[in-house]
């Protein structure tokens, strides 16, 4: 698997929603990583919004964009809302960002922390009956693309595009 594909996260389906999963090995201990994931002074450096609210499972969250981003990009100043679902420092932190769900899992490993980040994207299919089928297929389709076994003898402009994206033969 090429590195760029790993960096972009794997695609799957769960509970009728599209799921993205990222794994990163970080050269820092879990306690430190957990702080960077949960404390406002650190969030400011990588997350576009603050997490305002108590730090406990079930606590509601206000998710305002940082003022400098609101100004720079003309963002909607009214904060989105969410909730902390799991609060287990320094191992698991899960919260909702409006309709998206985000889960952070930290595992100590040699040299630091293995971070697994999973996000389930909002389901924008208007018809709930087709959504589950839709998303189940999405995962399989992306798998097909990721496996990159497209042969160049299928002389087709589409294939060239696929090779560029997935590095067929890698």
């Amino acid at each position: 698997m090429n590195d760029e594909n790993e960096r972009l996260g794997s695609v799957g389906v769960e509970g009728g929603r599209t799921r993205l999963r990222y794994r990163r090995k970080l050269a820092h201990p879990p306690e430190k990583v957990f702080r960077a994931l949960t404390e406002s002074q650190h969030l400011r450096h990588w997350l576009p919004c603050d997490l305002v609210g108590e730090r406990r499972a079930g606590a509601p969250l206000a998710l305002p964009f940082w003022p400098e981003l609101i100004e720079k990009y003309g963002l909607e100043p009214a904060p989105l809302r969410g909730e902390i679902r799991v609060w287990e420092p320094p191992r698991v932190f899960e919260w909702t960002w409006d309709t998206d769900r985000l889960r952070w899992e930290l595992e100590p490993c040699e040299g630091g922390t293995l971070l697994t980040f999973t996000t389930w994207l909002a389901n924008d299919e208007p018809n709930p009956k087709t959504a589950a089928g839709y998303h189940a297929c999405l995962a399989n389709l992306i798998e097909l693309l990721d496996r990159g076994r497209v042969e160049t003898r299928l002389a087709d402009a589409d294939v060239k595009e696929l090779e560029v994206r997935y590095g067929a033969g890698a």
Partner: protein, 102 residues
């Protein structure tokens, strides 16, 4: 996008696409590889054709089915911004951790 993916809700049809990834095939060969009767295989191929996922080429007496990647690439394009967005945020997290005091 929905009709495309509705066409793929059937595992046999996904398997057909997987086989076609390796090259064009006539329906008889596909049926054998899927262990399905030819009429059933043809039905699946028609559904995939309607969804724009396979195309047909006639050579001599045979019809050769091949993969059409456009709908798949569309889906990939749809997801790509999200994937890039989170990848970028994780990069920023890593960079910040490197600067952060222990």
């Amino acid at each position: 996008m929905t009709p495309t993916l509705a066409a793929l809700a059937e595992p046999k049809r996904l398997k057909i696409l997987e086989l076609l990834q390796q090259g064009e095939r006539p329906v008889g060969v596909l049926a054998r590889e899927l262990r399905l009767a030819q009429p059933s295989t043809s039905k699946h191929l028609k559904a995939l054709e309607r969804a724009g996922l396979v195309r047909v080429r006639r050579e001599a007496q045979r019809r050769w089915y091949g993969l059409r990647l456009e709908p798949l690439l569309e889906l990939d394009a749809w997801l790509e911004p999200y994937r890039r967005l989170w990848a970028a945020r994780l990069d920023a997290l890593e960079a910040h951790l490197d600067r952060m005091e222990d």
